[in-house]
Subunit: 361 residues, 2 copies
């Protein structure tokens, strides 16, 4: 494995993990779907669409945690505070659709979380019609966010199969292009920009913890991280019951079918199985050790960030924070400088879990 | 009024509003209490105590607000996210106490809010004992924060007079130095560093909105702002009932005595009268126009920041946000580039007002 370095126009120095995939920027505007291993260079391209990359600089050291523990660095994803005024990286896939087909009837996706909001926003920026399929019962705050970006909201039954079917039906009936929330290499590449920003700020991280659902964000981050700093390990953090570690260890999809939603308060990471395209990338680039977190533990992590960092984050981020603060000794060697991905796009302010549950942490 | 410029060691270019008070740094380590007009240079000195000034870069433009309104820039004060790892500027006054009297028996203050926490933290850093007087009924989260910094917590009756008396008794009995939460020029100077940071990032602001209680933060910011950018107006934002504008317009203290606590959810800005030392500074350097905000309006502003900026802010900051978004047309000319001071040190996560009131915004 050889590393070649080049400079992106965004000013960052990046390592491409496979010298054979190192190309000039001009070659990357088409056919990226076939080349998962190009995700890092794609991530660099994605950056060009970001008007004003937000600063990170949100650190919490071991001493702030009240112990001699690891130094944690947090990075907000699109939807989090500092990002308020810059378009999310996922916008890139939508712009590509417009570039390829200027008369495109638009895009459609299925996601009640950040992806749905990001695609709706991206479509608005690109001037394309957009439909977002969400399961019945999705909190009003999320529906409002999607509608406020001008997208059409379509409800489906709350199952992984139903949302996929409804999405396909819309694509069939309208000609809209499906932008899959995770099984799409360009979406993964967009997510990989999170690792670019994080490692630009803290190049010597030795681990990054990512809450995982379909695996798009974890894949993108794992690929980009592997290219930038091969010594930095990427760990997925899951809700109890996802059982990802067993499949990663055996490099086989050991989940029972059909795919299902997990019973967890972290509604942005409810899907049990990771994607068909993300799974092999996770097997290659993420650690097989996976941190499993209960609802109560997520709440503890979530509330800690509200209280100490004054950031509004969702339960999935709470899971990663909990793991970073409590479970790192489970791995060898224990990482000492750890990046944690935070997101607050899915917080329902009328139903904060520690209030709803009348628990006290 | 002439402006002289000099460079501080923190790398920022600053204007001192009164050429007669322009001095080298070495002259400022003593006797500052007598010189309110030196607050800006004091603010620069305070900066030297900050290990790692936090980045600001949190903007919300008119388009994000869904209208053609002003561009808002937000700055978190000590206690807000990016500040988690750096000592608050108020630490300076505590260090001065230690410098003047290495065998000092410690410090005492009265404040249930950020000042109490900041002094407790500063005393811990300086290695001085600390007592903080808070009114009975202060939320547990605030008491915990003070105790966690190692300070002694002393409860008093919930009135401005009571907390002052108890504080004086402790000072008398123990010899501890009183660090008044607002009627102290060095504390004001510490607060003035907020304006330094804000105007370093956005030098051409034409207004700054500050939630006001005793007036320490508003005074410090008004003086520093006047020195840095005399075209930038500083407006106080108050809970309805404080009636500050009438006193500022007449330059006379028109409040009925005794001083009292206002009936507002913004428990960090409950005191009706501003201080004896802050009042003349406010008359000179702040705008006499004051924005008065109701509890419901504060909640609206607070929730907006939670939802859109993903920041945990308290009701007092909600007041400033509400005024920035709704009341700027009341002044002539209406400011177009506005800084807003945010703080989240006083948020009780178990009692968020929109949930407690079962209102929906």
């Amino acid at each position: 494995m050889s590393n070649d370095y080049f400079y992106g126009s965004s000013g960052c120095t990046c390592a491409v993990w496979n010298s054979h995939s190192t190309h000039g920027r001009g070659e990357h505007t088409t056919n990226m779907q076939e080349h998962p291993t190009r995700s890092l260079s794609n991530a660099l391209l994605c950056r060009e669409y970001e008007e004003d990359p937000a600063p990170l600089k949100t650190f919490l050291s071991g001493s702030s945690l009240g112990n001699g523990g690891p130094q944690l660095s947090f990075i907000p994803t699109a939807g989090a505070p500092a990002k308020a005024s810059s378009p999310p990286p996922r916008i890139w896939q939508v712009f590509l659709e417009k570039e390829r087909n200027p008369k495109s009837p638009g895009v459609v996706t299925h996601s009640s979380g950040n992806h749905g909001q990001a695609v709706a926003y991206a479509a608005k920026c690109a001037g394309l019609p957009c439909s977002v399929v969400v399961p019945k019962g999705t909190p009003k705050v999320k529906c409002d966010a999607i509608v406020n970006y001008g997208a059409e909201l379509v409800f489906c039954e709350p199952s992984p199969a139903a949302r996929k079917e409804v999405c396909a039906q819309i694509a069939e009936a309208t000609g809209k292009a499906i932008i899959h929330p995770f099984d799409n290499y360009n979406v993964m590449a967009g997510q990989g920009t999170i690792a670019l920003e994080l490692l630009e700020e803290v190049p010597d991280l030795d681990a990054i913890l990512v809450p995982i659902s379909g695996g798009g964000m974890t894949s993108g981050i794992a690929v980009a991280t592997h290219g930038l700093n091969p010594n930095c390990r990427v760990f997925a953090v899951e809700p109890v019951g996802k059982d990802l570690q067993r499949s990663l260890e055996s490099k086989e999809r050991l989940w029972p079918n059909p795919n299902r939603f997990l019973d967890t308060i972290a509604d942005s990471i409810r899907i049990q199985q990771v994607g068909d395209l993300t799974f092999p990338i996770l097997c290659d680039y993420a650690e097989s050790k996976v941190f499993s977190v209960t609802d109560d533990q997520m709440i503890e992590g979530m509330r800690f960030i509200f209280e100490r960092m004054k950031l509004v984050v969702e339960a999935a981020s709470g899971a990663a924070v909990y793991a970073a603060m409590n479970s790192l000794e489970d791995v060898t060697p224990p990482p000492r400088k750890v990046g944690v991905i935070l997101c607050g796009g899915n917080v329902d302010l009328d139903h904060l879990p520690w209030i709803d549950r009348k628990t006290s942490y």
